[in-house]
Subunit: 133 residues, 6 copies
């Protein structure tokens, strides 16, 4: 149902095939989801996206599960169906419990609600919230 | 610059004034930001919002700083200027370091980017991501 | 602060000036807000927008105040600061009471919240909600 | 296809089952749509959402059909497929005529259009639209 | 799966049928996509939309393919699944190459990313970017 | 008014300062806009963003002005005020005429309008628009 069809390994160019192999190696899994198989139509864009994703989602000052939940929050807010599915699954794979999932959704819904109120009221940011030059 | 002006304590109804006092008590601070002072025009909506916020943002399966960063992520994605200012300040008050702030922004930007790609390609969710009935 | 500056009547082309006059006549007011004065840089786009707006917002199966509140709801959700300001003012001018304004905001915030939950859960539309072919 | 599967009455916890019963009683119908059956995985979030919804959508300064159409407008603008389906159905159940539905869509589309123009032009809100302190 | 079902030519009113004929004539094709067949439930809205679309998308200072790619960019950003499908198809029909499609997606994704960063940082527009009065 | 203040060259770290120099060299101008000066608080994110931007916006299958107009379209749709200002200025610097600007806005507004209609109607993508597996 996509704009472009997902490519099998056999149909992918050598450059795209190499990235599919890198994804499998990084994830220690034979499965590669269709986002990458569709993006494989443009190996340069696929490589830039995959490489940046590895850097951004690596453990750092925030742990990988927290990063994944933030990813879900953005995806929900953007209404990206595919991304909500894939990153919710990724968060579960990284150990998100049912209780954490429930709280994640409650915070997202709360923020959506007060974002709407602040936008409706057009409240101007209090001076104390702004960085001084 | 708001659609309604922020109410001082003196101008607020007794019902709204009571909530302003609750906010000060909960935050152990004399300062109440303008979101609440503008919302004070509708004490019923103000009370429902404040009470739900307390429940949702309380420590639970997720710690308060993680919840606050998720709140920022939603606010950024909704483009709510007031909310980004106030919740970024709240996250800093809860201990968000510069490194954590940087990673928060990097994850938000990464998600925005792949959300756009998934929407552009209209990739259909892989069966493995879907809950079985 | 706009991308293009608002045009005074003197600076507008005759075609744009004619539309400014139509706006004044339709509203029975000498004041024309800056949206139209900025759009006046492109008289063709200005005319198409003004004429369609007149048709859409005229009394019909829905009364003008209801239409104006729907307009506010969309503008809030899109985070369009200018539009929230101008259409909230328009709704007040058409008789929106404080109580109606409060309920309008409460519904917008409620919808934002359940929209977020439905997007987070990716619930599929129940068959009963869908039109049969 | 949801992230979590809809729960039957038998599969729901007693707490969630009680809310399903409340929904049936309030609506005078045996049917409960899947939004609630999926949300039933988190009875606390389900209860908070259901109770708030009852308060917000009750007859008040705005009549229930107007509230429902405002709900549709927000849902369309957020691109929430489930919500557009369910709240359009709810609006029809509350008496929305074909002519009202057509005008609702025309206003939503008009607002989307001028929101885009105002955002493109970055028009600053006229002083007359702003609340004085 | 739509809120209203697509109308066949036989089921459409004479007014809607006339527009279906105009669409076929303008496109030199017998096929009319479902957007128009669903919109046919409201012939007045259908006519206003079709007539404006013809004016806006006609060759002018921008060529039709560039206009179509801009249309795709907006549709992707709004997360409108139908529109992404139909306008990507239209862009291909107007000659969009695979390389152009790849670059279009890369620009959309880049903009989504820096939009998120600018919203996260709440950078104020540099004075040099603003139109002088 | 930003969440973080813009850094002068003197206040930036050597790593950020080097990127500021690269921006000046690439643009053949002494001026660096505040987006980069605020992002300079996180040199790693600043570098990743700057380097990717150079690749994406370089001349290719699409010319730089077309890319810039697509960037504006996304920024308008996301309601990113800073980005609309900066990329509209960039498009003008790359030769966008008033007529092209007007058509760009007309297409953005048209797409916003039909996106809203397609979302309101929840039209399902015609089979002919979908990629076959």
């Amino acid at each position: 149902m996509a704009v472009l069809h997902p490519l099998t390994d056999a149909a992918a160019t050598p450059e795209a095939r190499a990235i599919l192999d890198e994804i499998r190696a990084a994830r220690k899994s034979d499965f590669v989801n269709d986002f990458w198989r569709v993006l494989a139509h443009d190996p340069a864009l696929m490589r830039a996206t995959w490489e940046r994703l590895q850097v951004v989602m690596a453990p750092g000052a925030l742990d990988p599960l927290v990063k994944e939940m933030i990813y879900v929050a953005v995806s929900v807010t953007n209404g990206c169906s595919y991304c909500v599915h894939s990153h919710t699954a990724a968060a579960k794979a990284k150990g998100m419990t049912e209780a954490q999932h429930g709280e994640l959704m409650a915070v997202i819904a709360m923020a959506a609600q007060t974002n709407a109120l602040a936008n409706a009221l057009q409240v101007e940011a209090d001076p104390v919230f702004r960085a001084e030059r």
